[in-house]
Structures are given as structure tokens and as C-alpha cells.
């Protein structure tokens, strides 16, 4: 190929030097067990969407977490250390999640990742940022994808949200047990991604059959035209069919508004998945209060408007003081709750803070942490599952989620084939002033 001998020699020489350099490569410094921890500070990181459809639901999370951390810092921090949260926007794109998470690990040198968001995003980011290899904990992942509980695949990850499969199973049991709903035909409209598809699987393992194959729509592709078409064809079904909606809030709103347009709001019973059922957002997006009234949804938290709940009340106060300008809603509640769990984990790990120690602390003591969740936490030496239950509620015209039938019943299950059972779990009272003392 190369005719000129001089060039040929240059090429061979270069190749030899290259090989030599490769063999004699220097070894870069490795991450340690205490990266991100100093005598006075702990650095945590989060990569999450702040815009778009997912940003609509989860955009407030980093701010809420930071507000809680600020509150704790103002009250002595954790074992004398102040917590800082580095937050990057990944726009819910796997490509950006991978780079931002890698940046958090390599560049920002955080101690742990908290509240990572999204299935496709975090499963890519987890591997790309080599979290397993570097033993970086990924605490309280903000998604219902049950796969993150697998220690084999994600050795440093801890779930917190109940999985979408759990939610679907519990909804299925609810439909079966409710006399008004059981005989009705049911249909599922779901987003064509992890929100929806996990839900489809969950209903199946819950033994629930829909009257037709689920309608899946592409993410961001549910136009009002599509919704109107779907609802029109469903309006021919006799009785009062149940429409289960598994998607983000803007798509739930689109479907509800289409029902308003076609005067079909009373034709169906709407059940909205927890991700897309935030009443505040639905009302803000133009859904009428009369339509929201009666929508069934699931939650494992107290309702964010319920100021009689001690956790809600305390978080609301923290929000007003440390998260100015942001209205308190279910997302803020969720974010602060995760932050509270994080603080308890850090405390439980002791003054000699290491990554392994942090994870062991959650494994051994995590199930006893105080939290706003009404379902139990299931952390143990063999389980990385967080909450595993839901209660079913109904929205009223004010956008409050009240227990269906008046009495709050919590159901727990798993992501596989275990049955759904009513639970008698009573959550721990909030520590004084919302400051953990474990």
C-alpha cells in the first residue's frame, strides 16, 4: 500500500512507539470510598429533567431536595457536615443523562447520586458513569422501573418509588373489589415507554384483562385529535367503562379535555396513574374542576394539600422558607421526602462516612427511617425495594385526593406475582421539627 520506503519506515517507527506507549501507560488515580466528603461537607449530585413532558412532572425535585438540605444545614448539618447538592439538567435524554452523571462522578466528584430520574435515562447513565465500578451509590432512584432493585445489574442502586407494576396490580385489585367498577369494561391508554409498558405488564400479572388491547401512543404524540378519536370509539361501549390512563400529566389533561369536548366526562370512570394524576397540574393545564372531580388515582403519600398531615405541614413550612417562589405540590413533597431519607441514611452511616458504609446503613436500617410515605420501606440485606404499596383515592373538585370510600386502605405487593394484600402499616411519626435524630 505504501510505496515509499521512507514513509514506510516512518509508519513502522510510529507504530512501534505507539505500542510501547500503550504498554507503558500510566495509571490514572482511582475514586475512593470518601470522594465528595470532607470534614465539613458532603457533596451529592442529581441529574434530572427540568423541561419538557417529564420536566412538567419532575422539574421541581432538585429544588425541593436542596431546600430540605438547606434546612438541615441550618440546623447543624449531618455530624457537623453541610450537604451540597449539584444539579444538572438532562432533558430526559439518555445521551445527556449519561454525560451529566459521568460529570457528577468524575468532574464534580460527588459522594453519591440521589434522585436520578427515568428508566432509559438512568439505566444508560448508571452504566456510562460506571457507578458500579466506582462504587458510587445511586440513592432513591426516581422511577418505578422495577429493574433497578436488581443487585446483580445495579449493585449500588436503591429504589424508593413503588414500581409501576405494583401500582397496576393494586389498581387491578381495586377494580375487582369495587362493586360499582368490577362489572364494567376497562380500557388502558398508556404512554409508549416505561410509564405505560410497565403498567401494561402489571395489570397482566394482577390478573386483570382489559376489554381491548391497550392503546399506546408515542411519547409526546398524544394529540387532541388522537384522544378524541379514541374516546369516540370507546363511547360506543355500553355501561360506564373504566379508562385507565398511564402517562404524564399533560397527556392525562389532553384526554380529560377531549372528554369535556365530547361531553363524555360522565360516560367514563377515569383512573389516572400516580405519575399523571397530579390534580394541581391538571387544573393548571385547563381541565375543568368538574372533570377532575371523581378521577380515581393512586398514591403512597398523604395528599400535598392535606395540611393536617404532620409531614405535609412541616415540609410546607420548609418550602416556604427555603424554596421561595415554588408552590408546594406532590412533587415537592416527594423530593423533600427523598432528601429526608438521604439525611437519615447519612446519619446512620456514622461519622466515618464511606460509600460502602452508606449503602450498608440503608440495607440494615433503611426500613426504620421516618418518612412521609404511608407505605413501608422494604430495604434489607436482600432487598433494594423502597415503598411497595399504594392507597386508592378519588380527586375532588378542589384537586384534593381523598381516600376512596372515605377510609384509607393501604395495599402492598411486589413487582412479580405475589398477591396484593391490605396492610396495617402505621408510619413513624415525624421527628421533631422534621430534623432526623436517628
Amino acid at each position: 500500500m505504501i510505496r515509499n520506503t521512507r514513509t514506510k519506515r516512518a509508519v513502522i517507527a510510529s507504530a512501534l512507539i505507539t505500542a510501547g506507549a500503550m504498554v507503558l501507560s500510566t495509571i490514572p488515580a482511582q475514586a475512593t470510598e470518601t470522594t465528595g466528603v470532607t470534614a465539613t461537607s458532603i457533596k451529592l449530585g442529581i441529574s434530572s429533567p427540568k423541561t419538557g413532558s417529564a420536566g412538567l412532572v419532575y422539574g421541581k425535585v432538585p429544588g425541593a431536595m436542596k431546600a430540605y438540605f438547606d434546612y438541615i444545614n441550618a440546623n447543624g448539618g449531618v455530624n457537623g457536615r453541610k450537604i451540597t447538592l449539584v444539579s444538572h439538567d438532562d432533558k430526559y435524554l439518555p445521551r445527556l443523562a449519561a454525560t451529566q452523571t459521568t460529570k457528577l462522578v468524575l468532574n464534580d466528584k460527588v459522594f453519591a447520586i440521589v434522585g436520578a430520574l427515568g428508566t432509559a435515562t438512568h439505566s444508560n447513565a448508571y452504566n456510562a458513569a460506571r457507578l458500579a465500578r466506582n462504587n458510587v451509590p445511586s440513592l432513591f432512584v426516581n422511577t418505578g422501573f422495577s429493574g433497578f432493585a436488581s443487585k446483580a445489574k445495579y449493585p449500588t442502586a436503591f429504589m424508593v418509588l413503588p414500581s409501576y407494576a405494583m401500582e397496576a396490580k393494586i389498581m387491578a385489585k381495586f377494580i375487582k373489589d369495587t362493586p360499582a367498577l368490577a362489572p364494567q369494561a376497562s380500557f388502558l391508554i398508556a404512554q409508549d415507554d416505561e410509564f405505560g409498558i410497565d403498567g401494561v405488564g402489571g395489570f397482566k400479572s394482577g390478573g386483570h384483562t382489559f376489554a381491548a388491547t391497550p392503546t399506546l401512543y408515542p411519547q409526546g404524540g398524544l394529540t387532541s385529535a388522537l384522544a378524541e378519536g379514541a374516546l369516540t370509539s370507546l363511547s360506543a361501549v355500553p355501561g360506564k367503562p373504566i379508562l385507565v390512563l398511564f402517562g404524564t400529566t399533560d397527556t392525562t389533561a389532553t384526554i380529560l379535555k377531549a372528554a369535556e369536548k365530547l361531553a363524555l366526562t360522565n360516560k367514563f370512570t377515569f383512573m389516572a396513574g400516580s405519575v399523571g394524576g397530579d390534580a394541581n397540574t391538571l387544573l393548571a393545564l385547563g381541565v375543568k374542576a368538574t372533570t377532575v372531580d371523581g378521577v380515581i388515582s393512586a398514591s403512597f403519600f398523604p395528599d400535598a394539600k392535606d395540611a393536617t398531615d404532620e409531614y405535609v405541614k412541616q415540609f410546607m413550612e420548609i418550602n416556604t422558607k427555603y424554596n421561595k417562589g415554588v408552590s408546594f405540590d406532590n412533587t415537592v413533597l416527594q423530593g423533600m421526602n427523598s432528601a429526608m431519607l438521604t439525611v437519615q441514611a447519612l446519619r446512620a452511616a456514622g461519622k466515618n462516612l464511606t460509600r460502602t458504609g452508606l449503602m450498608r446503613a440503608i440495607d440494615t436500617k433503611g426500613s426504620t427511617f421516618a418518612s412521609a410515605g404511608l407505605a413501608p420501606l422494604n430495604y434489607s440485606a436482600t432487598s433494594r425495594v423502597g415503598y411497595n404499596g399504594y392507597w386508592i383515592g378519588q380527586l375532588n373538585a378542589k384537586g384534593e385526593l381523598k381516600p376512596f370510600g372515605g377510609k384509607l386502605t393501604l395495599y402492598t405487593t411486589d413487582s412479580a406475582s405475589a398477591p396484593v394484600t391490605a396492610s396495617t402499616f402505621v408510619r413513624k411519626s415525624i421527628p421533631k421539627n422534621g430534623i432526623p435524630n436517628n
Binding site: 394529540t223 378524541e228 363511547s235
Partner: protein, 298 residues
């Protein structure tokens, strides 16, 4: 049967919206030979202006007028102070064809970024001026409302007015001549630059109208019109980029295809349908459905 009727009605509504965007794009194309990607940004900006007007006056109609007028002003402004310098600087080499398009892409990004900074990234709502409740026909409520009828009517009106403008008036003739052959037009005494700016102004106005008609049925956020731009562009290409009627026809073809496929085949095929329709049309008629003679290759 109801499903079929619903599909037809929703297709008409979707098609009408795509048509507005397509009209705006064809307007700029016919007067400047540029595909104006910034159209989405202009349209959403004028809609935010309309939103502000509604916040202050409570009237959709005043906001609509404001949006159209500001759309025209912004369109003219962009041509005069943005496109014209680009045309002046880039006069040689094949970049001539690509530079304006790429520049409009850049402009789109800037407009949307500025909107995000000024108004924030959250969804806002604009209420429709007339009821968006489905009309009651013989006892059943159909998927067509007064508002849908209003949109359809407005689009038809816009199409007629614009066609009349281009075909029957002197200004229209000047617009077409300046685009096709600027040198000869100048020799004929046509102020080519001013005429071109006028074309952009009319296109901007059409975009402002499009935004105010589209947003009440969805939400207002910086990227709200992006998907509309994509569908509008595809519709315009299907129709042939050469006539107003073509733009509307292409939009209807696209709207019907998408809505029927999602109703009867699968809801996940929205985008692939658009692609298939486009490529089928172009394979049969490479210049689009309504393009007249072949000869213009760019």
C-alpha cells in the same frame, strides 16, 4: 360509523392547523426561495404576545389582532435586519442555498431560548374564544366544535385571500417575479427588497394567526410550535411548495393520513405515517402534488 365520522372531523381539524403553517412556509418560499425554520419561533413568539394581551385585556379577539400585526412586524424585521445582510454577504458558492436555511435554524434556537428566559418554560393556556365543546348533531356529540369550525373557516379564508393576492394583484405579481428572477424584476422597476420584506411580513402574519388558532387546543410553551413546523413543512412539500392551494391540499392529505392510520391501524405510527406519505408523494411526483411545470430544481 361514528368512528369514521370522527376520523374525518379530526382530520379536518388537524389538516387546517397544518395548513396554516404550510401556508406561512410557502409564502416565504415563493417570495424568497428560503425555507424559514424560524417560522415556529416567530409563531410561538407572537402567541406569547397574544397571551400577554389576553392577560391584560381578557379578550381573545384583541389578542388575535395583536398577534397578526406583531407577526407581520416581526417577519418584516427579520427579513430586513437578518436575512438581507445574510444574502448580501453570502453571494457565491453553493453555501448560498444552505446559508439562509441554516440561519433560520439558528434564529429559531435564539427565539425559543429568549422566550424560555423571559416567560419561563412552563405550560401556559390560552382559552378558545368560542366554545370548544363538541357540537350536538342529532343527539350525539361529535368531535367537532364551534372552535374547530372557526379554525377551518379562517384557514379557508386565509387561503382564498392569499391566492387572490398572489394571482390577481400587482403586488402578488411583484412577489412572484422578485422571487423567480430578482434581476429582471429590478429592471422592471420592482423594488425587490421591499417586496421581499412584504412577503416575510405576510408570512409572519400567517404564522401569528396559526399560533393563536393552534394553542387553545393544546398548551403554550417555547417549543409548542416545533412539531407543527415539522408537519407544516412536510405538508408544504407534499403540496409542492408552489401554491397556496397546494399547501392546504398537502396539509389535508397529511392530516387525513395521520388521523386515519392512528384510528384504524395503530396509535404509535404518527410519525412513520408522515414519512411514508411524503416519500410516496415525492416518488410519484418529485415536485409535490400541485407543482406546475418542472424546471425549478431548488
Amino acid at each position: 360509523m361514528t368512528q369514521f365520522i370522527t376520523a374525518v372531523l379530526t382530520s379536518l381539524s388537524s389538516g387546517a392547523i397544518y395548513a396554516l403553517m404550510a401556508l406561512a412556509l410557502v409564502l416565504v418560499w415563493r417570495s424568497t426561495r428560503v425555507v424559514n425554520f424560524a417560522q415556529a419561533g416567530q409563531a410561538v413568539l407572537t402567541t406569547y404576545i397574544g397571551y400577554e394581551v389576553i392577560q391584560r385585556t381578557g379578550s381573545y379577539w384583541i389578542a388575535l389582532v395583536a398577534a397578526i400585526i406583531s407577526g407581520a412586524i416581526i417577519g418584516a424585521f427579520i427579513d430586513r435586519f437578518f436575512m438581507r445582510p445574510i444574502f448580501k454577504r453570502v453571494t457565491s458558492g453553493p453555501i448560498v442555498l444552505i446559508a439562509p436555511v441554516v440561519a433560520t435554524l439558528g434564529l429559531l434556537g435564539i427565539i425559543e431560548a429568549v422566550i424560555g428566559i423571559v416567560w419561563g418554560l412552563n405550560n401556559q393556556s390560552i382559552e378558545p374564544p368560542v366554545s370548544n365543546a363538541g357540537l350536538n348533531v342529532n343527539g350525539t356529540v361529535i368531535a367537532f366544535s364551534l372552535f374547530n369550525a372557526f379554525v377551518l373557516g379562517t384557514v379557508a379564508l386565509a387561503m382564498i385571500l392569499l391566492t387572490l393576492l398572489f394571482q390577481k394583484t400587482n403586488i402578488g405579481l411583484a412577489l412572484r417575479a422578485s422571487a423567480y428572477s430578482p434581476e429582471i424584476s429590478k429592471l422592471s422597476g420592482i423594488k425587490v427588497d421591499m417586496v421581499r420584506t412584504l412577503g416575510w411580513a405576510i408570512s409572519g402574519a400567517a404564522g401569528g394567526l396559526a399560533g393563536m388558532l393552534y394553542v387553545p387546543s393544546t398548551y403554550l410553551f417555547p417549543n409548542a410550535m416545533d412539531i407543527l413546523l415539522v408537519f407544516g413543512f412536510i405538508a408544504a412539500v407534499i403540496g409542492g411548495l408552489e401554491s397556496m392551494v397546494g399547501a392546504v391540499a398537502g396539509a389535508m392529505v397529511l392530516g387525513f393520513a395521520i388521523n386515519f392510520v392512528t384510528t384504524y391501524i395503530s396509535t404509535t405510527l404518527v410519525f412513520p405515517t408522515a414519512f411514508v406519505v411524503l416519500i410516496l408523494v415525492l416518488l410519484i411526483r418529485p415536485s409535490g402534488l400541485f407543482a406546475g411545470k418542472k424546471g425549478r430544481s431548488a
